[in-house]
């Protein structure tokens, strides 16, 4: 369990992160320069926040007001760096044993190193130097070095960025398997939403030095709170309309002259609002099933992008003014694309499921 509230001013950047994360894997997701790596460094004690507190399992490791600032090696934090930062002049064994606390008896240290080597399937590489290893092996050494001292919290800074895209997929699975036995808090920093979703059960979105939203991965993906979160999670269709409340959890949004129903609690007030729907949530409707659908719209495909497994279609409403421009971005599987014989210029029926329409709160 990690609780932190940080404040650190840098030239042109203001970090003020607040986080409370439990055991298991949490992803800190944001674009580069959002302050996510800085947050990790602060937790590890490698940079000093101007003010704030950091608590690990209830133990205060930093408190600016109380003058507490534990040295990095006393915090019981394991940190896996981007590009791994292995010691180039030490062997795999040497790198691993450096992670053991001082005063570990020699025989016990050797046991722990061998145990870790075995766990990482690096038994035959004990005497190799980092430059003799593949990217995946280096990652395993870095992970082993961070975990060998049994830290209470494990920090992973973009652990896959140094790897070929081709091996990333396999190594993500591998890392998850290796982390399955770790009983502690894991904070993974990434700028890849898919990676965050795949690896973590909880996602915190950070940008401009602030945590914008944190929740389960489904929540963050499907219930963005603000426009900025929606942009960061690629909701794509961020629209503007006028909303009024129908009942407790139903809203009526007027968009381009159409009345749309939106279900679910909304963080917004009535009036002019922004709302969004993800490209994969927009439904294409077979012409013979039109009567049964709500939030029905008619549009024309103005542009398409074939991506192999799926298509991205850009649709402009038929009663919309500007031709050429599109109103909605839709993602459909290639199979459906073929079944419905879609093509650029074709007119289609669309439905926006009310539970997928999400009203957005104004950005702070």
């Amino acid at each position: 369990m990690l609780e932190l509230a940080l404040d650190r001013r840098l030239p042109g950047f203001h970090l003020r992160t607040q986080l409370m994360i439990g055991d298991g894997i949490t992803a800190l997701y944001g674009p580069s320069g959002s302050g996510k790596s800085l947050t990790l460094l602060a937790i590890a004690g490698l940079i000093r926040p101007t003010s704030g507190t950091i608590r690990i399992n209830g133990r205060t490791v930093f408190d600016a007001n109380a003058g507490i600032d534990l040295a990095p090696h006393l915090r019981r934090v394991g940190l896996v760096f981007q590009e791994y930062a292995l010691f180039p002049h030490k062997t795999v064994s040497g790198n691993l044993s450096f992670g053991l606390p001082r005063g570990t008896p020699k025989s016990k240290a050797a046991d722990r190193v061998n145990e870790t080597l075995h766990l990482l399937r690096l038994d035959s590489f004990a005497q190799h130097y980092p430059y003799q290893l593949s990217g995946g092996q280096r990652q395993r050494v870095a992970l082993g070095r961070a975990l060998i001292g049994r830290p209470e919290i494990l920090l992973l800074d973009e652990p896959f960025s140094a790897l070929d895209p081709a091996v990333r997929e396999t190594l993500r699975q591998e890392l998850l398997q290796m982390l399955a036995d770790y009983k502690g808090t894991i904070l993974l920093v990434t700028h890849d939403l898919q990676e965050a979703y795949l690896m973590a059960s909880t996602i915190a979105i950070i940008d401009g030095g602030k945590v914008l939203q944190m929740g389960t991965r489904e929540e963050v993906l499907h219930q963005p709170r603000t426009r900025r979160v929606a942009e960061h999670t690629s909701a794509k269709n961020i629209l503007r309309g006028v909303a009024c409340r129908d009942s407790d959890d139903t809203w009526d949004i007027v968009w381009r002259g159409h009345h749309l129903r939106a279900d679910g609690p909304a963080p917004a007030a009535a009036g002019e609002v922004e709302f969004c729907i993800r490209p994969e949530d927009v439904r294409l409707v077979w012409p013979d099933r039109v009567e049964r659908r709500v939030n029905l719209l008619r549009g024309r495909i103005v542009h398409e992008l074939g991506r192999g497994l799926d298509y991205v279609l850009f649709v402009s409403l038929t009663d919309g003014g500007d031709p050429g421009k599109y109103d909605l971005e839709i993602q459909v599987r290639s199979r459906l694309y073929d079944l419905m014989t879609l093509y650029v210029g074709k007119e289609v029926w669309l439905s926006l499921p009310p539970d997928r329409l999400r009203l957005l709160a104004p950005d702070e």
């Binding site: 460094l41 590890a44 004690g45 490698l46 040295a71 990095p72 090696h73 915090r75 934090v77 394991g78 940190l79 760096f81 981007q82 590009e83 930062a85 292995l86 010691f87 180039p88 002049h89 450096f98 992670g99 053991l100 606390p101 001082r102 130097y129 980092p130 430059y131 070095r145 961070a146 001292g149």
Partner: protein, 220 residues
């Protein structure tokens, strides 16, 4: 058969060796500070360190003479308080060579420290106290640069002439180093001795370079 005067060579080796050690001991912390430190006056320190490289050696020597001479600020203190006079002794020659060698050593060592990926040191700090990281990670990684700096320092110290002449003089058998002895031999029209000592100096330096080259085969 001419007599090859070995005394200047031996004195030069002793002076240059001690000056190299002094540059290493003084220069390493300064180089580290310049490479990693964030403190006010860093730029000033960096300039001060470089002064002996820029000033004419005789000028540096003259300032040192004013400082440590019998009437100098430091010289008087040391002579009266500690009863140590270093002016015109071999100790002054060591001081002269150290001052001359220090900037070269610091530049090389500073480059070595700056070349270390900071994250590697940071990774070390998450496991061990700063001092242990310095000894087991930083210094071993900077070792080649520090050694290169030491070789430069030794070479510069062997060749030291101007500052040494100003504060140590050229007293045969006492402060007459190889560089000074060769000059004196030429002045005294003794070409054989000048030849012999020059060849000796060249051979000695080449031998040291070869030894150091063998020692520094690095695997990673």
């Amino acid at each position: 058969m001419i007599q090859i005067p070995l005394a200047p060579l031996l004195l030069s080796m002793k002076v240059a060796g001690l000056a190299t050690v002094a540059a290493l001991v003084l220069g390493t912390p300064i180089a580290w500070l310049l490479a990693r430190g964030r403190f006010p006056g860093r730029a000033v320190l960096e300039s001060i360190v470089m002064i002996p490289l820029i000033l004419p050696p005789t000028v540096t020597g003259y300032y040192l003479l004013l400082l440590i001479g019998r009437q100098g600020l430091l010289g008087r203190l040391m002579e009266q308080g500690l009863n140590i006079g270093i002016i015109f002794t071999w100790k002054a020659a060591v001081l002269a060579s150290t001052i001359a060698a220090l900037p070269l050593f610091i530049k090389a060592a500073q480059g070595a420290f700056e070349g270390i990926d900071r994250r590697i040191e940071d990774a070390g700090r998450t496991f061990k106290p700063v001092l242990i990281v310095l000894c087991t990670i930083t210094l071993p990684l900077a070792w080649r640069g520090i050694l290169a700096g030491s070789i430069l320092a030794f070479a510069r110290a062997m060749g030291e002439f101007g500052i040494t002449l100003m504060i140590a003089g050229s007293i045969p058998g006492r402060t007459q180093t190889l560089a000074l002895a060769i000059y004196d031999a030429v002045q005294a029209n003794q070409p054989q001795e000048a030849n012999a000592m020059s060849i000796l100096a060249t051979a000695a330096v080449l031998l040291i370079l070869a030894l150091v080259g063998r020692m520094t085969k690095v695997r990673y």
